[in-house]
Symmetry: C2
DNA sequence: TGTGAAACTTAACAGTGTTCACTATTTTTG
DNA sequence: CAAAAATAGTGAACACTGTTAAGTTTCACA
């Protein structure tokens, strides 16, 4: 069935083009600007057509959410080769922070916005958030490796991982939301935000180091 | 006439009643449900009337943001009396987390949403975010007191404070956004979220303690 | 009582997500 | 080959949203 095949390919193509348009709007103009109608205009189709390829807006948002995790995994790829577990752990943290600074919109979509998590809860009760799982598993394994070298003695792996993630996520979230900026305007001179987070991260690393 | 009665009852403090209505909708039905039109319906006035008392929606949102900080300061009040600085620091963290769990909507408004920060940037370039400043100052002073007792040796006060805030905020943010829930569904059995955060917090406290 | 200001509302604009009913076009089938 | 059926796409509408310009009502004071 060559014709069938071509048709389904065309259909897959349009689905992809919708996501591409959504992504373009998202990265250039932010979440607010990414409306069904604007996506439709971008691909020169009627807004209703989009509903033939995606269930609703949250469906598209979740697809973007997954694109973000693909980006993050690409950034993480090289870190797999770092031999020393503790160096790998530090690099992981730095890489995570850098991602948040480089793609703040994606970071917000992936780790801050409620919508994608709600989408998961509603649409697939079982196979929940494997994107998050994969990233967290990498963190878990790295911490386990650190423990084999004597770090985090007497501490539970999962709780250490949770604390580490929360620390770094906290910094990134405060940056992305603008709270760090408002804060620094007041408390600190004009040392820029990235340097502030670097310093906070160094404090964290100091804590982690001294568990050995 | 019910309308006449309504008009003579509260005429001057309509501004306050608008905020009360907004707060009621906000705490009972969340941010999404807090629209100008619904607030208007709540106080039995036309939507346009609200614009005579508040510049725009972000003006109301920011007023709610401030209400939230009033609540948080009330919770913090008793902690001022804790003598031991390190005990005070721990209590501060626990109290902060408890606030996020008790008032997740307010927490989101205060520490996660961009809108109130944008409002500050636009409307008062100078006197930025004194609410945040006051809370952070309390944290800073507590850490300084800890340092006088030998904690956090060789670490910068502000960077330690930043790291501590980020850690605890990270936990709260992951809870409020639902990411913690989705995560735990996968990684961990069904230890509930609050216990997970408690454990992560204990890890943090362990780090802090071992700086002495 | 007349007037001007203040308080408030109506109607509208421009935007949002979403659905229903409809029209072409293409494919399948009797 | 023509009729029926499935497919792809659309226009108009619904029910919302924040916001504003213009108009009306109310009321104190000269």
């Amino acid at each position: 069935m060559g014709i069938q095949e071509r048709k389904t390919r065309h259909k897959e193509d349009l689905r992809k083009r919708i996501l591409e348009a959504a992504k373009k709007l998202f990265v250039t103009a932010g979440y607010e600007a990414t409306s069904i109608r604007k996506i439709a205009k971008e691909i020169e189709f009627s807004p209703t057509t989009i509903y033939l390829y995606y269930k609703d807006k949250s469906d598209i948002i979740y697809a973007l959410h997954q694109e973000g995790f693909q980006l993050l995994r690409q950034d993480f790829q090289p870190l797999m080769q770092v031999e020393s577990p503790f160096e790998r752990l530090k690099a992981l943290g730095r890489c995570y922070i850098k991602f948040a600074f480089t793609h703040p919109d994606f970071y917000e979509l992936m780790f801050i916005m409620k919508d994608p998590m709600q989408y998961l809860e509603i649409n697939c009760v079982e196979a929940a958030w494997d994107e998050g799982e994969r990233v967290f598993d990498f963190l878990l394994q790295t911490i386990r490796d650190c423990q084999e070298e004597g770090y985090f003695k007497g501490l539970d792996t999962i709780h250490v991982a949770m604390e580490a993630w929360a620390s770094v996520h906290g910094m990134c979230a405060l940056y992305v939301s603008g709270h760090l900026k408002s804060m620094m305007h007041v408390v600190f001179g004009d040392e820029d935000q990235e340097r502030m987070i670097e310093s906070a991260f160094r404090v964290l690393v100091h804590y982690l180091e001294s568990t050995k």
